[in-house]
């Protein structure tokens, strides 16, 4: 849009210059200052118009999407049709139904709705808790000097190299000893533990990128740690928090290993992924339920991603300090 505008005004300016001939008009000056922008816009447009590049992109996109489309179509076909023919036959024989979704969500033994709620109950705290803790830790590591800070920071990040699988059995033993083995707590705590090292590292790096003079200005302005954290740093960290939140959300929502280990045993706490895995394993034949279930599981990450996407704003620090 803006590229179009500048392009238009640049061309008109050039036209004016050509027709006017003699005096160097303001428009010509404008044109001179805008040529760089227009040139870049033109190059970009040319790049996007390259037919071969476009074709390659379209082919890749289609290939990539076909299995998902197949699953989506299958989830809307009647059980009998699924058993008898492939999903592509809908072209000649369109026959759709919502029964699969109804059955998957509310049908007798396959009450996905419960697992859906479980997934949400597991995911939200597993995102909020590590981010809250990591923000505080990252602030301390970035802005409060204390003895052994660097060693501690490296040590925390080094925890990344411990494979999750190694920790599962000892953790489970502890949870059972503490008597919380049958609640949501094992899953929440485990996800928090596994997320913290990376979260602290990432948020610390973002915090460090904020110019030190900004924090110092706030200190001189009378702000203590709490006010610096909430009034100055937090608003500037929104993009960092949003991006980490998205990754953590997707990771927890799609996680099977952790939830299977710590919450897999009982329907009261098991999330969608565990149920879906069971459906594949124990009722491999129920394609109509499996496809619908997969899409029910997919819809939430999609919504989360699209709604948090707008926080990916760059240049939030613009104008703060002279570069």
């Amino acid at each position: 849009m803006s590229a179009d505008n500048s392009h238009a005004s640049a061309t008109s300016a050039v036209a004016a210059d050509v027709s006017g001939g003699g005096p160097v008009s303001d428009a010509a000056l404008v044109a001179a200052s805008e040529t760089k922008v227009t040139r870049r816009a033109r190059r970009l447009r040319q790049g996007m118009q390259n037919p071969w590049a476009s074709l390659a992109a379209v082919i890749i996109a289609v290939l990539w999407t076909i299995p998902t489309v197949g699953l989506l179509v299958t989830s809307f076909r009647p059980e009998a049709d699924i058993d008898r023919s492939g999903w592509w036959t809908i072209v000649t024989n369109p026959n759709f139904t919502l029964d699969n979704y109804e059955q998957a969500l509310f049908g007798g033994g396959n009450n996905l709705a419960t697992y859906f709620v479980n997934s949400i109950v597991i995911t939200l705290p597993s995102v909020v808790i590590p981010i809250s803790i990591a923000l505080l830790a990252a602030y301390a590591f970035a802005w409060i000097p204390f003895k052994g800070r660097d060693v501690l920071f490296v040590a925390i990040f080094a925890l990344q190299i411990v494979p999750i699988q190694v920790t599962l059995i000892p953790l489970l033993t502890q949870y059972v000893n503490w008597g919380i083995g049958r609640s949501f707590w094992p899953v929440w705590l485990s996800h928090t533990m596994f997320a913290l090292p990376l979260a602290i590292f990432l948020l610390h790096n973002f915090m460090k990128e904020i110019p030190a003079s900004l924090v110092e200005a706030a200190r001189v302005d009378g702000a203590g740690h709490v006010k610096i954290f909430f009034r100055v740093l937090l608003p500037l960290l929104v993009p960092a928090i949003a991006s980490f939140a998205i990754f953590q959300f997707l990771w927890v929502w799609n996680d099977l290993l952790v939830s299977l280990t710590f919450a897999g045993g009982r329907a009261a706490v098991a999330p969608l992924t565990v149920r879906l895995a069971e459906m594949v394993g124990t009722r491999g034949g129920d394609w109509f339920l499996l496809s619908a279930g997969a899409f029910i599981a997919m819809i939430v990450p999609m919504i989360v991603f699209l709604s948090l996407q707008r926080y990916f704003v760059r240049g939030l620090l613009a104008g703060s300090v002279k570069g």
């Binding site: 900004l214 500037l236 703060s320």
Partner: protein, 405 residues
């Protein structure tokens, strides 16, 4: 703290009659906002040499003091010690009668303008300026009034609702100033606030800041590496080098009677010419020229000076004379720099002076001479110059300290 603030508001006596502002106009202020460095030292962890070494400095209430020196001299560190952003490892710092050595920045009643402005990017100009007051719990209406008042002074009224990114460099700088003056603090601290502006704007803003400070009458400590800024803005100047205070005084003092060779070479533009010569029978032997040296100066020479003195002479203290004159010495013209109002000859000493130990702002073995801009010599020409009597500066060659005239 809030008591002080109210005193300042009530002290709005408008004795200069020029403004209707209720920002602090110099008047009967009950608290004396003097600043005292009492042997204050700062040693960075892991270093041997102090960044600031036993700084002793007293700044009067309402005074504009400029800390100046080459980069790494400890001037910014000194300022940050006063701000509370840097630990004090030895000695004390007092604001008024209050020892602030170990108290938090927020409890010092100071405002600071940073080199890179450090504006809060997510807040509007108005919020930036009112941030400190908001944190102090000032009522909203008061904040708005004070922000608008400051904005009027700084010509920022129409930008109050903009974010910093929508402002030009000069406007951002003014917002940073505004953030400080809205506070009505006891002391302003400014850390090279002009170094990010272009040359023209820097000169304009320089005078604006100086006159604003005179009008508000708030004690100000200003850090710069630019000696022109120091000379033009400061009531007094403090020159630092390697963490050590070299000299404190009015711009005139610094220019007329530099305490040592470093200050002599640092203050003044173009810099002073400094040469080391032998003293013989009451005269310094500058090649063919013999410059009389007072008896007091010779008596003050120590063993480390080895019978030599360092002679300093400013470019404007040299006259072009004829070869016949007793105190004339030859200079070969390398470049002539014409500035319109002035012209400067950058030249090399010639004759028996060719290997003399002379240096100036232009480099070793170079001297700078101010000459009549209407009558400039050609490149390569040899001219004879003499130091105007009484305008030379004498320093011990070894100690570098000023000798009595």
């Amino acid at each position: 703290m809030s008591e002080t603030t109210h005193n300042r508001i009530n002290a709005d006596t408008l004795h200069d009659g020029s403004s209707g502002t209720y920002l602090p106009v110099k008047g009967t202020v009950t608290t004396m906002a003097t600043v005292t460095y009492d042997k204050a030292s700062r040693i960075y962890p892991g270093t041997e040499r102090p960044a600031v070494d036993q700084l002793d400095l007293h700044i009067e209430d309402g005074e504009f003091l400029v800390l100046v020196g080459p980069s790494g001299c400890g001037k910014s560190t000194s300022l940050r010690m006063l701000a509370g952003l840097e630990d004090v490892n030895g000695g004390r710092i007092l604001i008024g009668d209050k020892d602030v050595t170990h108290i938090q920045p927020k409890d010092r009643d100071i405002a600071m303008v940073f080199q890179n402005y450090a504006l809060y990017p997510h807040m509007t100009v108005a919020d930036n300026m009112g941030f400190a007051l908001k944190i102090a719990g000032t009522p909203k209406a008061d904040i708005r009034a004070r922000v608008e008042e400051a904005a009027k002074i700084l010509d920022l009224t129409e930008y109050l609702d903009r974010k910093p990114k929508a402002l030009s460099g000069g406007q951002r700088q003014r917002v940073a100033m505004g953030r400080a003056i809205v506070r009505q603090p006891q002391v302003f601290l400014m850390d090279e606030p002009l170094s990010n502006l272009d040359a023209k704007l820097r000169v304009q803003t320089r005078t604006q800041i100086a006159s604003l400070q005179r009008r508000l009458g708030v004690t100000t400590v200003y850090v710069t590496h630019d000696q022109t800024e120091a000379l033009t803005m400061g009531d007094r100047i403090a020159v630092l080098k390697d963490g050590l205070l070299q000299q404190v005084g009015t711009p005139r003092d610094m220019y007329d009677t530099p305490a040592n060779v470093f200050v002599a070479g640092f203050i003044g533009s173009p810099a002073m010419n400094l040469g080391t010569f032998k003293v013989n029978g009451g005269f310094a032997e500058v090649g063919p020229a013999r410059i009389p040296v007072s008896r007091a100066a010779i008596a003050a020479l120590g063993a480390e000076d080895n019978g030599k003195i360092t002679l300093g002479f400013r470019p404007e203290s040299l006259d072009v004379v004829s070869q016949a004159e007793a105190s004339a010495f030859p200079v070969e013209v390398n470049i002539v720099e014409e500035l319109g109002s002035d012209a400067f000859v950058y030249g090399t000493l010639k004759g028996s002076l060719a290997d003399a130990d002379v240096h100036s702002g232009a480099g070793d073995n170079q001297v700078i001479v101010r000459i009549d801009p209407r009558n400039v010599p050609a490149k390569g020409e040899r001219i004879f110059v003499a130091i105007r009597p009484g305008e030379e500066h004498l320093f011990g060659a070894g100690s570098g300290l000023r000798l009595p005239a």
